[in-house]
Homo-oligomer: 185 residues x 2
């Protein structure tokens, strides 16, 4: 079956407490993301490790119950860190990273990962397809630098069906948000 691709750039999820340490004003929606309720905010931070910095990393809302910084392998090489490949919310062995803006600078412990490729799917549609959370599926990418990659199922009540990949994958396979790939059950 065909599914659409969403390319995730590096971004930050914060708890409200972590956010308040660096911002006076409230988190402000810039634009809705494809998954219901998720939005990219006006607020950005600098991330830093080993003296290397990446500016303008956007906070994705709403607030989470944990802090999580998702970067690409390319970012990780630049920053000189080696974060594990994890599904969102699994912060086992995650790296520390410093976040800052003009108001402050502090280290977020155990928060930085490279997100695994994952397929958002609603609980009801997953049930129909006999898929459950964390199942592994294959994705066939038909481009001139195509291939087959594995991805993990991520169910939620109101998910929009979509494959999420990072910018390294997007570049390696020449994929853009909105492109179609094939999901093999």
């Amino acid at each position: 079956m065909k599914i659409k691709v969403g390319v995730s750039n590096r971004h930050i999820h914060l708890t409200e407490d972590a956010y308040r340490l660096l911002f006076e004003k409230n988190l402000t929606k810039k634009s809705d993301l494809s998954q219901p309720g998720q939005f990219s905010s006006e607020e950005v931070l600098t991330i830093e490790a080993n003296g290397k910095k990446i500016d303008n990393v956007r906070i994705v809302g709403p607030f989470r119950k944990y802090n999580q910084v998702e970067i690409s392998r390319r970012d990780a090489r630049f920053l000189g860190i080696n974060p594990p490949v994890r599904k969102s919310g699994d912060l086992k062995d995650a790296c520390d990273i410093i976040i800052s803006n003009e108001q402050g600078r502090y280290k977020l412990k155990d928060c930085c990962i490279i997100a695994n490729r994952h397929v958002h799917i609603s609980n009801s549609y997953a049930k129909e397809l006999r898929l459950k959370d964390n199942d592994e599926v294959k994705i066939v990418i038909p481009k001139d630098k195509g291939g087959i990659v594995k991805a993990f199922i991520k169910t939620s009540d109101d998910a929009v069906l979509e494959l999420h990949i990072d910018t390294d994958d997007a570049n390696a396979f020449n994929l853009n948000t909105g492109d179609e790939v094939e999901l093999i059950l």
Copy 2:
């Protein structure tokens, strides 16, 4: 069968005539590359398109019969160009790109490509495996962000068996030069 990976960063191949327009001194070997006779040189150039520049792009010797600039999709996005995915030497629909250093600046026509994934193999070993130039093979990448990609066979008399990928692939699959992957015949 297991084969080793070689990661190619962006680089430039030039004819001697094209080289002489920008350098007084001879092309100087910096270090040998894995394929016999190939070397990265001390000489670097800036590549440029649409007012965007990437500095320190290394010339790979020896001189070629054609000019060819190999970049990654990420570089291409940054430069605002859309080069085709091609095997080395196939410059159909290749992009123009400006090269420069302190001595000069000129446009190289029809030279910029994204190199396809390819497997260097000697003629004799290819024959033994019943492979020929341009055959498509599958590569299984066993990492945590692994997958299966296609690659093309590139035969020459004295080739060292090696899969060549670009930095986008290396980042997407978390591969480094010297890592092992599996070639499926």
